[in-house]
């Protein structure tokens, strides 16, 4: 193993060991009282206050992907990569009123997954199945992306080959399998402390060494001008893509099953509302993280081989002493474990509650279900590892963008469904099918462009769909997810008119209007079960789900 930086690796491994200890300790402490916030992690009346929700959702959304892929995109393309900032600004006011409705109806009716809600609201197990499958498929590349983060860090330290990813997977699997949500939640504290420490140090130290911010932006400007692609500002034709990508990503974020898990774990509606103001602290950090890409340009950092994702780890290696680079790498590595664990739990829940229980084994006992959920979480992680091993990690950010296009197709049923039941279940299914097909077709027709506009790959090259392909005489591009969602909505609305005119039955609403505004103090509100050990709707204790 030539070229391995032993100091960095030692620090990195030390933090991983620490995190492993924390993970197992969390599992052992689960019934103890009064240990920090741990008593809030159990069953029954204990649920998450503002701080824990902040760490949990923050750990969920701002991941290793943030640390590695966003600056890599800024490094390569410039201003277009900065979309992550407006995206995480828009998302909170956008969902402010929506998540509290979701929280309320879920706590009244005992929903744990978005598919639970859709099943009850629209009285359609087919629609619920589609929502569940969409959630699982969209989450997989997201988990894969986290493993890409670990891979980039290991590669930078000189550790090569596939085995480190397998090791990371085993560690992840151990936490998730034995401790459920508790371990990643505790680890999120460690992760956030390390990440904020790294960012603060990076933002103070690196610009000082590079001659200030003016020099950093200047170097980036020079590079893009010389390369003839990208830029410190957006070209006019890229502005629509920038805005629609930010809006589309924001709409998609809280449709992901793992975000919904974080939302439902909150103690009450006020906790959620307060977090909509507190979570943007991470967005601010994200702005600085994105600019690490420009710092890398100014510092003349080069990636390891052709893996653009290693640009930030390489920058840290160039700029920091080895021991602190090790700390920063640990931040990225641990930052990957937390969301990956939560995502695999969320996907496993969808499988267990909305596929296994619904279709495969209707008389499953609670023990059966817990076991299935745990095994499913393993399978999901295995799928993510396979995705990394078999697909070029260079395309990790595009993979996640494709996931975003997919998950957006559940917006009419899940998000609009929270407000109205006017949309017909048959039309929602039709909209999903057509929207999904349109989205895939558009993504297929996005070429990957190299410097100077050379086509490197004909298909699956990103999410910026050229409007010229629709016959418009323009160079503008638009986020494929946004356009496919519009197609979906048009079909859903038109279909609803047709089906309503034909008087096709649309089932019975399993929820009541007052469910959506219920507060914790209300008599109808109940506590949700532990996400990993819960009983699906319809089983013991969930009898009221079907209204």
């Amino acid at each position: 193993m030539d070229g391995v930086n032993t100091v960095e690796l030692a620090i990195f491994v030390a933090f991983f060991v620490l995190v492993t200890v924390v993970g197992f300790a969390a599992a052992r402490w689960r019934r103890a009282e009064n240990l920090m916030h741990l008593d809030e992690w159990g069953l029954g009346g204990r649920s998450f206050g503002s701080w824990i929700t902040w760490f949990l959702i923050g750990g969920d959304i701002y991941t290793a992907y943030t640390f590695v892929a966003v600056p890599a995109l800024v490094f390569g393309a410039g201003a277009a990569g900065f979309f992550a900032v407006p995206y995480t600004v828009i998302v909170y006011p956008l969902i402010f009123l929506v998540v509290i409705r979701l929280w309320s109806v879920s706590h009244v009716r005992g929903f744990v997954t978005p598919a639970d809600f859709v099943r009850s609201r629209f009285d359609s197990s087919t629609l619920a199945l589609l929502v569940a499958i969409t959630g699982i498929v969209a989450t997989m590349p997201y988990i894969a992306l986290q493993l890409v983060g670990i891979e980039a860090v290991l590669e930078t330290m000189g550790v090569t080959g596939q085995w480190p990813i397998i090791v990371a997977f085993v560690i992840l699997a151990l936490y998730t399998y034995s401790s459920g949500l508790r371990a990643p939640a505790l680890i999120a504290f460690v992760k956030d402390i390390l990440i904020y420490l790294t960012i603060i140090v990076a933002v103070i130290v690196i610009p000082a060494e590079l001659g200030g911010w003016g020099a950093i932006f200047g170097a980036a400007d020079e590079k893009f001008t010389a390369a003839g692609s990208g830029g410190v500002l957006l070209p006019q034709a890229g502005q629509l893509q920038y805005a629609t990508l930010a809006l589309g990503s924001a709409l998609a974020l809280f449709l992901y099953p793992h975000s919904i898990t974080g939302v439902l774990a909150a103690k009450n509606r006020d906790v959620l509302k307060r977090n909509m103001s507190a979570l943007p602290v991470y967005s601010l950090a994200l702005g600085f993280i994105a600019l690490l890409g420009y710092m890398a340009i100014a510092a003349g950092t080069t990636p390891v081989g052709t893996d653009g994702n290693t640009i930030v780890p390489r920058l840290f290696q160039d700029m920091f002493p080895s021991w602190f680079a090790g700390v920063a790498f640990a931040a990225v590595g641990i930052g990957a474990l937390v969301p990956a664990a939560i995502m695999s739990i969320a996907a496993a829940n969808l499988f267990t509650r909305n596929i296994y229980k619904e279709y495969l084994k209707k008389d499953a006992t609670p023990e059966n279900e817990a076991k299935v959920a745990k095994i499913a979480s393993l399978v999901v992680k295995l799928g993510a590892v396979a995705a990394i091993v078999f697909i070029d990690p260079q395309f990790s950010i595009d993979l996640q963008l494709i996931g975003g296009v997919i998950i957006l197709q559940t917006l009419p049923s899940v998000a609009i469904g929270l407000y109205t039941r006017w949309l017909h279940r048959g039309a929602l299914i039709a909209g999903w099918v057509v929207g999904m097909a349109a989205g895939m077709l558009m993504l297929y027709n996005v070429p990957r462009l190299g410097p100077g506009g050379v086509v490197l790959r004909e298909h699956w090259g990103g999410s910026a769909f050229s409007l010229g392909k629709l016959g418009f005489d323009t160079k503008y591009t638009i986020y494929a997810g946004f356009l496919s969602l519009l197609v979906n909505l048009v079909v859903t609305i038109a279909g609803t008119f047709v089906l309503r005119a034909m008087k096709v039955a649309d089932g019975v609403d399993g929820t009541a209007e007052t469910d959506y505004t219920a507060e914790r103090e209300d008599p109808t509100v109940r506590d949700l079960p532990d996400p990993l050990e819960s009983v699906p709707p319809g089983a013991a204790g969930g009898a009221s789900v079907r209204g």
């Binding site: 900065f82 006011p93 909509m276 507060e519 103090e521």
Partner: protein
């Protein structure tokens, strides 16, 4: 469950999320989408082109509006008390208002 106590007259738990304050939330959603308005180099700040620093200002805008809407639309202590009484006695544990922050 025994029948709930009658809440005192004039104070009933709110049953709607509707409020004119909610319209404020439109501002931080729409402003970052108006890309042509801020896709510029000048005025610069600490060497940052306008495009970059103004988007960090948008973060503050989002915080401000969501915090304001939260403050303006939360249940009053009287409404909370009424709701708790309606819920057949308060649950054991700390009051909800100091929920961790």
């Amino acid at each position: 469950m025994s029948s709930p106590d009658t809440p005192p007259a004039g104070v009933a738990p709110r049953r709607s999320d509707r409020s004119p304050w909610n319209w404020l939330l439109v501002v931080p959603i729409v402003v970052p989408l108006l890309v042509p308005l801020y896709d510029h180099r000048d005025p610069q700040l600490f060497g940052w082109p306008f495009f970059y620093w103004v988007q960090l200002v948008f973060v503050a805008l989002g915080v401000l509006t969501t915090a304001l809407v939260y403050r303006a639309t939360r249940r009053s202590p009287e409404e909370r008390a009424a709701a708790r009484r309606a819920a057949d006695g308060p649950p054991a544990g700390p009051p909800t208002r100091d929920g961790g922050r």
